[in-house]
Structure formats: structure tokens, C-alpha cells
Amino acid sequence: MAGHDHDHDHEHGSELSETQLRVRALETVLTEKGYIDPTALDAIIEAYETKIGPRNGSVVVAKAWTDPAFKKALLEDATKAVASMGHMSRVGDHLVAVENTPNRHNMIVCTLCSCYPWEVLGLPPVWYKSAPYRSRAVKDPRGVLSDFGIALPKDTEVRVWDSTAETRFIVLPMRPAGTKGWSEKKLADLVTRDSMIGTGLPLNPAEMK
């Protein structure tokens, strides 16, 4: 399935089918051995496809924007604060929220593999797990931001968090202007996945459809 030396595009179809066959063989063997239950796999997949996504994080951010006590609690102990909301399956023990300010922009990466706060953001996008992002985020974060169409002021501190252990980070972006009096639900619609990774900013009211 990998380590192929033939032309990638030309062989794409047969390469995928070889992978499919190997994965099916693996699942059959592990099932027959009694290690796994395929119906539990179905349920895991369904959860990632329908329940566990960045909306979980958006709701947390919107609450922090409207509730100063919650924001304080979130920045002090994100694991505890998120668990107190009770709207998602238990998060891991090691979540840290990092706050963007007018002087500081935070960005999350995992240079060694693909560590990502799955419980609050869902599955990581392919680009997050890709060599271009993993290689450049720690050395040229402003260049990476420009790939995403973001240009920060030259004197803004850019802080990159490389997730090299089991601590997971989520960015608390700045609340957009022009949202005074908005409900948490409406605010959550402004909070994009990328704004919680730090490769994007929240939508502003004019960008709302």
C-alpha cells in the first residue's frame, strides 16, 4: 500500500483497493481473534461523523466571550471548565486554553505526529497532519498564516505551541467587534475551527450568511 515506486496518479485506484483489502483483512483477523467488535467500530465512526466536531469548541469559546467567570475558569483549568459544561463526552485530563489578545496570537501544531484536541475540535483536517504544516509552523508561522490569508500586525507576538506530550491546546480567539449583546448561540456561529487552531480568525458579523 505504500513504499510504491510507480506513478502515484496513474496507480491511484489500484493502490487504494490494495489498502482497502489490507484494512479489511486486518479487521477480519482482529475480529476473529476476539479483540474487536465491528459494531463498536461502526459506532465510533458514526460518532466522529455526526457528533464530535468543532462545534463543541465553538460553544466553549462563545461561553468564554459572554461569561467572564467561565473565561477565567477556562484559562485556569480548561479540562475542568469544559467538563462543567456537560455538553460533550468527557474530555481528556490535559486540555489547556490559550488566549489571543491584541498583542499576542497563538497557533497550535504537532511537529512529531498529529496531536490535536479531538474532543473539542473533532478530527484534525488533512492539512494539520501534513508535512507542510508540521514543518513550517514552528519556523515560519507568519508564512503559514499567509497561506491561510491572514496577515497579523508586524509587532504582534506569534506564539506557537508544539504539542509534544499529551497536553492538548485550544486557542481562545478574540471576540469580533460589532457583536455586543449577541447570544452565545449566535456567537458560536462565528467561531471557526481554524480560529481555535490559530490558523484563522473568527468570522466577523459581516461575513455571516
Partner: protein, 218 residues
Amino acid sequence: MDSVHDMGGMDGFGKVEAEANEPPFHAPWEGRVLAMQRAMGYAGAWHIDHSRFAQEKLPPVTYLSASYYQRWALAMESNVIERGYASPEELKAGHAQTPGKHLPRKLTPDVVGAGLSRSSFYRQQQGPQKFKPGDRVRTKNIHPKMHTRLPRYARDKVGVVEMCHGCHMFPDSVAADRGDNPQWLYTVVFESRELWGPDADPTIKISIDAFEPYLDPA
């Protein structure tokens, strides 16, 4: 180990390309791979750092040419075989020829919620915490052949301890089957010029999470 998985600071991989409206999985087999990994982890077949180490041991050309979930599948196959959960012949045939080994538990539909939750990595401390926020530290210049979570770009560099995250199981030890060997874990922040030289943009700061054995006082 010093292989291509340790990518921080490498040049030449090009632009970051985001896919609009990316689906959770690009093919059904990707979901099966992810779910099998979760189920085997829940069962106690191996630890997450065994999965990482198995990927790191892939030949560099394979690592770079395989897709993300292909890498997971390759790593899973090698852990299944190396740890004796199935034989290469069984994987090749696509059927079990002998009964499975005993595993502590099994992920079934009624406990899927537990399979989706991350377990805790906190462990009982073995000794006192050596560093506190504000302390200057120098990362060690180590190049183990085994799994480590100290990236190359941050070795032999001076930084400042910013947070202590408590005492965690130590990946370098876990991946080598030498037990949890709990260690204090810190966020250590570096100036960009310390990592990337005098021409680096001084507004950039980079942190890693570093286990205490990676650090010396500076």
C-alpha cells in the same frame, strides 16, 4: 529516533493547502482504521506511544509517501505482529488460524463512549518537581535510537519553563516497554532566535512540552 516524522523546521514541503468542506473520512477504510486503533487501545493491546513509534520506524520514503491513515494501518499491522496478536500469515490470509491472546477488555457498542474518551496520563510522582515556572532550562542534546518526544529543533536550546502540567507517564519509557516511569511535564518556551538563529523574526516564540529528563538547569 531521528527520522522524518520529526519535521519541525524542515524546508521544502511547500504551501499548506486546506481542503474546502473536508469530510471526516475520505474513504470508508479510513474510518475503519481509526476505529480499530481506538478499539485496540481500549482493549489494552498497546499504548499510543507504541503506535507513534511504529510509524516512526517506517522507512522514511514510506512515511512520506503513505497517506495519514495508511501510516496508521501500517503501524497497526506491525504492532499486531510484533506484539504477537496475529501472525503475518494470518494478516496475509485475512483470517485467524489460532485463537486470540487474552486482552484486559473489549470495546463493545455499550461502552463506545469510553472508547472515545482519552484516558488520563497522570501518574504518581516518583520524586520532587525539579523546575518551576520562570526557571531557565537547557534541553539535552540527545539522539536516542528509540522513541522520544523531544524534537530535534529544540535540543540543546535554552528556554524558560512556563507551566508545569503535573507528573505524566514517560513516552520514551512506555514505547520501549519499560513501564510508565512517571516524569514531571513542563511547557518550555524558546525565543525564535535561540532555535533558528539571528535572522529569525523576534516576534515569534515557540514552546514544546518537555518531560523533566529532557531538561537541565541553565
